[in-house]
């Protein structure tokens, strides 16, 4: 593998990491802008789904 390939691999990895950071940042921004009541609904659905699935698989 040439130096160029290594460089390209590192750049691709850095790009992916940067993409994930951007997605995470956007999600945090979206969550922060939500009304508190909708946050409770979202979190309630998450706990509901996790609990129901957890009991079903015997967790």
């Amino acid at each position: 593998m040439s130096d160029t390939d290594h460089t390209t691999g590192r750049e691709a990895s850095a790009d992916r990491s940067s993409d994930w950071r951007a997605v995470g940042g956007a999600l945090v921004e979206r969550w922060s802008s939500l009304d508190d009541g909708w946050k409770a609904v979202a979190l309630g659905c998450l706990v509901l789904a996790t609990t129901a699935a957890g009991v079903r698989i015997g967790w």
Binding site: R21, S32, G37, G44, V47, T51, A52
Partner: protein, 335 residues
């Protein structure tokens, strides 16, 4: 803000909430008192002795989120049949209490205590609907000043701190049935958190009735905000905000989730073990929320309440609490 930054900002405070909740749960087992009441008391003790460190403040602000999420999940325990059976009586009582309390506070503040009109309206909203949330909602619709909002919030917090301990004591002394106690607390106490805590401090059934009654009261927040907007707009021109957007912003959205979970549970989506796990989940959420409620009550904040607002709210609370207990006892005596 990135995900690690957000977690770094929130997790220390949330960790403190969980820690206070866990200690309260252990302590409650030792002293034989309801763990939710102990969580609030322990929170108040910590906040007013060692104080809440600056690094924990952002995380402590999440207490409302845990409370509302807990209420959403509590919908899984409600029987639609029982609610429909008592529903008309509860709605009637809620409407009567809102009108009676609101008018009584308005009249007492203006004519007996000589309190400014807008501060009187904020106190009326706080006592008749849902405590601090109603004060904030109506403050926007009547464009109240910052110091009026601070006075009203401090007064409501003071009565929240007193009633969350006094109601379970009175309920125990009078040996009130669970439904009577729950509906009474839901009708006459102020903010949602203390109502839920005082309800569950009596029993699970009382906690559920207290929550249902309180959130029925909360549903009227938009109506009251609209009423005040119209009232002040007619007198002061641009002195109010009655836009649909503003009114929707005052609506407690977590009730949508609560109603959704009530429907799912009542059509039989969840099995008994799943319902038991959900109950466990909302009890933990309440524990963390009430640790936060206690940690947010400081004597410095309570001192901001002036003697006249405290006087009028104290007198009105005594009247409303006594009358509502008598009426609820009559209506639900055989339940």
């Amino acid at each position: 803000m990135t995900v690690p930054e957000t977690l770094g900002r929130l997790l220390p405070g949330v960790g403190l909430l969980v820690l206070v909740g866990l200690v309260a749960r252990w302590l409650a087992g030792v002293v034989g008192v309801n763990h939710l009441v102990v969580a609030i008391a322990l929170g108040i003790l910590v906040a007013n002795t060692v104080g809440v460190p600056g690094w924990a403040e952002s995380g402590l602000d999440t207490q409302t989120l845990w409370l509302e999420t807990g209420i959403v999940l509590m919908g899984s325990k409600l029987s639609v049949d029982a609610v429909l059976e008592s529903g008309p009586r509860i709605v009637g009582l809620v409407v009567a209490t809102i009108l009676f309390t609101g008018l009584l506070v308005e009249l007492c503040t203006r004519w007996l205590f000589g309190i400014e009109e807008k501060l009187g309206s904020l106190l009326a909203a706080g006592s008749s609907i849902c405590g601090v949330s109603a004060v904030i909602a109506v403050s926007g619709s009547i464009r109240a000043k910052e110091d009026q909002i601070a006075y009203a919030v401090a007064t409501v917090l003071l009565f929240d701190a007193v009633t969350v301990f006094a109601y379970p004591l009175v309920g125990g002394l009078l040996d009130l049935p669970a439904q009577v106690y729950g509906v009474w607390a839901g009708l006459s106490m102020y903010s949602t958190g203390p109502v839920v805590a005082a309800g569950f401090a009596h029993s699970d059934v009382a906690g559920q009735w207290a929550t249902v009654t309180k959130i029925t009261r909360n549903l009227f927040i938009a109506v009251v905000a609209l009423g005040y907007s119209v009232l002040y707009a007619r007198r002061g021109g641009d002195d109010a905000d009655a836009s649909l957007g503003y009114l929707w912003s005052t609506f407690p959205k977590f009730l949508v989730g609560f109603l959704g979970v009530v429907v799912l549970a009542n059509v039989g989506v969840f099995s008994e073990p799943q319902l038991a796990s959900l109950e466990n989940a909302y009890q933990w959420l309440f524990l963390v929320a009430f640790a936060g409620l206690g940690l947010s009550i400081t004597t410095d904040d309570l001192r901001e309440a002036g003697p006249r607002p405290v006087g009028v709210m104290g007198a009105v609370l005594l009247v409303v609490s006594t009358v509502s207990l008598a009426v609820v006892s009559l209506l639900f005596a055989t339940a």
